[in-house]
Symmetry: C2
Subunit: 386 residues, 2 copies
């Protein structure tokens, strides 16, 4: 397999855009990305769309050619991948595989979701379809209640505290405040975070990611051709996708995600690095507890130590391993199908030293972790300066 580089990246802001439809968001991100690496639509040899629930949110299905033709990309394979909140992470994985294997040279991946045309109850119902609807969801769960159980068990097993969760929210809000494309640009205090409106105890409003509209796009090429398109290629050093049970009750232990561990191990092995080498990361903080567990499952800290690790500031911009300098799903926003590719875009910005006010000093090796559902799909990507 040959080395692969991200040659271009482009994103829309994330937020609530009442006047924008799904296609216009995807096209905006796609066109920014094409311009970013001076690639013409006719040069794209294969197109991937990551989208979770466009049909349910917007009434439009068959979304890959619907969007690729609007970008002027004709004739070539145009494929939608769905893997819950890991939809575009998975699309990115498959696009990488095509380029690495030499099937195609120039492959584009767009992730998009348009959620805010539905009200919050409808959104929760559509999101719940990523859980096991014949079991856990039929029993009345939402993803917030599933992750509340996970948090409660993590507290019981390891002594994780509410303030540990809240510290993640405070950090991600602080980072989001510096990101002009973030949906929520509001600094909050630990006291505010602790006292948020209850959602599913112990999770409150500040522990939950946002409901968002947005899109993100990247273009991949063989590393040896990358300089035809950009002065700042970013290399994909390691990447893996893994799977596990959809239903939480099928898992032996709900305080760890085997798919995250598995994808992480494979990605580290491919990249030839260890967790210690990772300088910064975008982790899937759909809920604050998910970021804490991800820091454990990916080996940034020991099992059960993710709460204090966050609380003590190790994942802050000034810490030893900054996590979610973009603001994460918590503050940047979480248009479900866009999130995986948006994480890649955020790694690219840091690695290229283009992250503006939130730029960190050690930024040459970053990791993205994109989680689907309560852990049934995970994609881990490790990117570095080429």
């Amino acid at each position: 397999m040959r080395p692969v580089a991200v040659i271009g990246a482009g994103k829309t802001p994330f937020g609530i855009f009442a006047d924008r439809d799904l296609r216009s968001l995807a096209v905006e991100a796609g066109e920014k990305c094409l311009r970013n690496c001076h690639v013409a639509p006719g040069q794209i040899e294969s197109f991937y769309l990551g989208n979770f629930a466009g049909p349910s949110f917007t009434g439009q299905n068959h979304l890959a050619p619907y969007i690729s033709t609007a970008l002027g990309i004709m004739d070539v394979p145009s494929t939608r991948v769905e893997a819950a909140c890991a939809s575009s992470g998975s699309a990115f994985f498959h696009a990488w595989a095509e380029v690495a294997a030499g099937i195609y040279d120039i492959v584009m991946v767009v992730g998009v979701e348009k959620m805010t045309s539905r009200n919050t109850a409808q959104v929760n119902e559509i999101l719940a379809e990523a859980g096991d609807c014949s079991g856990e969801m039929r029993a009345g769960n939402t993803f917030a209640s599933l992750f509340a159980m996970i948090a409660r068990r993590h507290m019981f097993e390891f002594g994780t505290k509410k303030e540990h969760l809240s510290a993640v929210a405070v950090k991600n809000h602080a980072n989001g405040a510096l990101n002009p494309d973030a949906q929520m640009r509001k600094v909050i205090t630990l006291e505010q975070a602790m006292k948020g409106k209850p959602i599913a105890d112990p999770l409150n409003l500040y522990d939950c990611s946002l409901i968002s509209d947005g899109a993100a796009a990247v273009i991949l090429a063989p590393l040896e051709r990358a300089h035809e398109f950009t002065d700042k290629p970013v290399r994909v050093l390691g990447i893996a996708q893994a799977s596990d049970y959809v239903a939480l009750d099928q898992k032996d232990d709900i305080t760890t995600f085997p798919a995250v561990r598995r994808a992480g191990e494979k990605a580290y092995q491919m990249a030839g690095v260890t967790p210690r080498d990772i300088q910064f990361a975008e982790l899937h903080d759909c809920f604050t507890i998910a970021e804490i567990i991800a820091t454990e499952d990916l080996g940034f800290t020991g099992r059960g130590e993710g709460g204090p690790y966050a609380f003590e500031g190790h994942t802050a911009r000034s810490g030893e391993r900054p996590v979610n300098t973009s603001g994460g799903l918590k503050a940047k926003g979480h248009p479900v199908g866009a999130t995986g590719v948006a994480q890649i875009c955020d790694l690219v910005l840091q690695i290229r030293c283009e992250a503006g006010d939130r730029q960190i000093p050690r930024h040459s090796l970053g990791l993205a972790e994109n989680l689907g559902g309560s852990g049934a799909t995970c994609v881990v990507s490790i990117l570095g300066a080429a």
Copy 2:
């Protein structure tokens, strides 16, 4: 790229199964397929699910790990592909690419759809989401009305007659009557077919494919390893996926599908064969006119000559190039997300000489064409005896 073989195939019957859910259908097909080639779930290195609208039909999303874990396939990449009625054809294409490129050896593809839990009006609404919902569908179209316009224009341009369309229905019903797994096992006369209940003039009930439940599965491996698993490997000689506009009104000419022509050309080139070499085919007869146009776009007959070609019996089991010996979408059934892989299974049965009463004598080189929407996605696969 290395040669790839289908080493195993398995299908459920297609029909209306009130007591079966989506997962149980997919698992039945998957288990039959695993047994067919003596592969254990733990040997599968990558899993693909082709599914069009599971969330809308059944309320369950995130379907790939939901099904792969139920088959005992753990940890590995588990990916859902959606491309309207070409969902599992596209999944098959991507699985082939992974094996051909040497990324994995043993890759499984399952296609499934559970449609009959919704009433006909709901089904039509869900299917319509594969068209352009901001334009043609908002104007009141269904897929039947879109294909009626296509048929009407084909009649105007080329003199195609209603009896040409009906001849396709008569043939596919005759074939389906010999297929124990077909949903509709009823021989009809040309007179009956001509007098069907009107749906969207000139299409009547007998011109339209069925609403079905069902699943199909195949496993792919490098040709050089195929004999570890089966005495009857079937080689993938050529395959391609292509795309085009979703909306019919964006096309210059609605009597031909550029994505079919494009995918066909690429698949023929890869296989090193011409249309003349193809001995039999499974074509996407979502409507009778679609089969007629496919015989033209794939070069079995000349432009505009597909109607007489069918009417004169050239595509009958006893003709020069049998089409849809399975009964096609018309009589076998059309569980949307299962159709692409089911076509591959039907080619495999003929090539292995296991097609029972519908076995044809010249069966060593077959083609499958899987169409999404009104032509925005097409996958063409050419399979032959290994």
